[in-house]
Every structure is written in structure tokens, then in C-alpha cells.
């Protein structure tokens, strides 16, 4: 199992039955593949849809795309609506959980994922609204980027959101964001507490009963 699948499988366990969920582009989208049996979530696509599903071999309908511009499909109980309502759902606290990738995250729960000044300037899209409005914000990302530490004491890049992250899931560890520190609750079976701590700059407290995943 590669790192991304490991992360997606673990995040999927956080999904609650009946909840409206928004998954970011890329790795977070993979979470939908691993939601446990008996748990049914409603996926939102911020371009104006609830009940997002993949095409799964069906012929593409040119009137249905996901938030990445890819052809998609809608469930039998889905709905289409305009951008204002889509972001009313997001900002208004109607989205139970959002899963987003990140470039950096820190012990205060700040995250930065929308630009690297002078290099990468994709823009924030709907991410700033999602991290502000969703009830639970889960950052799903690889623990490091080509060896560079991403879980910091303080983000260096421009923030997407301030004190917004609730949980961080990497291929090595699961953290809960507490008051100015991270609580290490789970460590990957392939890793160790020592390795996780050596690859994390943020202030970390190790939970009394650290689980493996």
C-alpha cells in the first residue's frame, strides 16, 4: 500500500454516517474509495452539487463536472444549485467535514496550501471558505515533502486558514490539534513514535495509549 492509499484509508474512518462532506482535489478525493461499509456520506462539490459520485464507466454527461473540472455523476438523491448556495452550505456550518491537502500545517492549527510566493500561485479557490466553515477540518498529506518538514511550530507560507485544523493524517501518524500543541494519537505500523517525532517540528505530546494504524 502506498503512502497516499494509507492516508486515504485512515481518513475514511473519520467519516460519519449521513454527514455532508467536501473532499479536496487529489489525495483527499481518494477517501471516497475507502469509506467503511454501513457508513454513507453525502459528498459536496463546491461548483454546485450534493451527491457527487464518480462516473464508474458510465458515459459522461457534459452538464456534470466535479470541482476539478472532471466529468462526474450525481446520486439519485443529489441536487444541483448555484455558487451562492454552495458557499452558504460551506460557510454556514452545514458541511460536517472537509479533507484537504496542505503544504504546511502548524501546532496552532494554522494551514497553508494555496501559494508559494514567486513560484506557485494557483489561488485559494474554495479552500479558505471550507476551512472556515466546515465543522471538522482534516488535513491529509504526506508527512514530509522530499525530506522537508511540513508539520511546523509556525507556518511560513501565506495562510489558507488561521486556527482551523482539527486533525492531521499522514502516512506515518495521526494528530489531533490541541491548544498550541499536537496530540499524537496513532502511529503507522511501519513507523515508530521516535521516527514521527524526528520528522515533526511542531510541539507534540504523545497520547498515553498510542494506537497503531
Amino acid at each position: 500500500m502506498d503512502a497516499k492509499e494509507k492516508i486515504a484509508r485512515r481518513v475514511a474512518l473519520e467519516m460519519k454516517d449521513g454527514e455532508l462532506v467536501n473532499l479536496g482535489i487529489g489525495l483527499p478525493t481518494m477517501v471516497a474509495n475507502y469509506i467503511p461499509d454501513g457508513i454513507e456520506v453525502v459528498l459536496q462539490s463546491e461548483n454546485g452539487m450534493t451527491g457527487l459520485i464518480g462516473l464508474e464507466g458510465k458515459e459522461a454527461d457534459p452538464y456534470i463536472t466535479d470541482a476539478g473540472g472532471t466529468s462526474a455523476d450525481i446520486t439519485d438523491y443529489g441536487a444541483f444549485f448555484d455558487s451562492a448556495l454552495s458557499f452558504a452550505l460551506i460557510r454556514g456550518g452545514h458541511v460536517g467535514a472537509t479533507v484537504l491537502g496542505s503544504l504546511e500545517v502548524d501546532q496552532e492549527g494554522n494551514m497553508a496550501n494555496y501559494m508559494i510566493p514567486g513560484k506557485l500561485i494557483p489561488g485559494m479557490g474554495g479552500a479558505m471558505d471550507l476551512v472556515t466553515g466546515a465543522k471538522k477540518v482534516i488535513v491529509a498529506m504526506t508527512h514530509t515533502a522530499k525530506g522537508a518538514i511540513k508539520i511546523l511550530k509556525k507556518c511560513k507560507l501565506p495562510l489558507t486558514g488561521m486556527k482551523c485544523v482539527d486533525m492531521i493524517v499522514t502516512e506515518l501518524a495521526v494528530f489531533e490539534v490541541k491548544d498550541n500543541y499536537l496530540l499524537l494519537t496513532e502511529v503507522a505500523s511501519e513507523s515508530s513514535v521516535e521516527e514521527v517525532l524526528s520528522l515533526t517540528e511542531a510541539e507534540v505530546k504523545v497520547a498515553d495509549n498510542v494506537k497503531t494504524f
Binding site: T65, G123, M124
Partner: protein, 216 residues
Amino acid sequence: MKSKVVDKSIVKEVIKDGMHVLASGFLGGGTPKVIVDEIINNNIKDLTVYTIDASFPDNGIGPLVASGNIKTLVVSHIGKDPVAQDKMKDGSMEVKLLPMGTLVEAIRAGGCGLGGILTPTGVGTEVAKGRQIINIKGKDYILEEAIKGDVAIVQAYQADHFGNCVLRGTRINSNEVMALSGEKVIVAAEEIVDHLDPNLIKIPGVLVDYVIQEEM
């Protein structure tokens, strides 16, 4: 009732150099192609364009970005359009980034007679810089001023001769708010019909000035 259906040459009559244009669409879906093409073909320049994203270079608002006719692009995302990123870096096009929800709601406010909106989105980030922060019941909000356009360009699945519009699927996106907040509104309809079910209309024809045939 007098028909609002006209030839696409109306685009160059309505949209002039330097205007502020509200353009619908999300990564190309729901952007009026025939109107974008007319702006490019008639070389209408120095536009300030408000739209959700820069789309891809070859669809949606992308070709208008590439044409060099946009002076300022106000947008939430340019990640799928390397041309827009290059123009931002070399300074040939000014890009102002706003969170998607803030952009949409500020435009909606413009057409609703509101002076602005109070949003918690972006508090503590770069988008809060230079903006007034207002605390209500212990929570900080950014005051984002309302946005209006000289003209809105939108796309409909179907329109009748009075300009009532039916929208479809994820191409609904920002079409309603753009139509609400443009001084003049041009609709490109995929299909122009004699009558629509009033229960299904998303953009009432009273907001619309001109209807032209979309060319997909």
C-alpha cells in the same frame, strides 16, 4: 412582449474597452463561449473581469486570458491555467485573488443593493490585509465591499424570448449572481424556445437585456 433575441454583434455594441465584466462559469462549464469569442474577435481591451476561475487555456474564460484583452482578473483560482500564471508573474495582467465564497457573495451583494458582506473567511490571512475587520458577538469578520459590473455575460441551457433562463447541472454555478449584478446582461442560450415553465426559471427575464444563440 418585445423579443430580446438579437445577433451576436450586440456584444461589441454593449461591451467597450475598459469595462468591468462579470463572467459566469466554473472551469469552463457555464461560460458563454460565443460572447468570449466575440470579445476576442472584436479586440475589446483593458477589461476588468470578475469570474470564479481562469479555467483552462483552451476553454471557458481561458482564451480571453490568453488574448491579452484582460487588464485585471479578479478570481479565486488560476491553478489550471498556466497562461494566467505566467501573465501574473510577468505583470502583463493584474490578478486579484479572493476566496471563492467571498467573490460570489460580494457579487451577489452588488445586485442585491447591499454595500458589502461580512465574512469570517480569510480572517488572519493575506486577504484580510487592507480590509476593515468588524467584531460581532465576539467573532471577527472581514468587511468585503459589494461588486457590480458594467455588463454580465452568462450562459443558459434554455432561454425564452423575454430572457427567462433555465440552467442545468453544474453549469448553473455563478450564472444567477452574475446576471443579478451586471448593469447590462447578455445571455448566450444553448437553446432559445418559445415558452418555459415558470417554476423552473433560475434567472428571471427582467434581469436580462439581450439573448443570443450560444455556439458550442
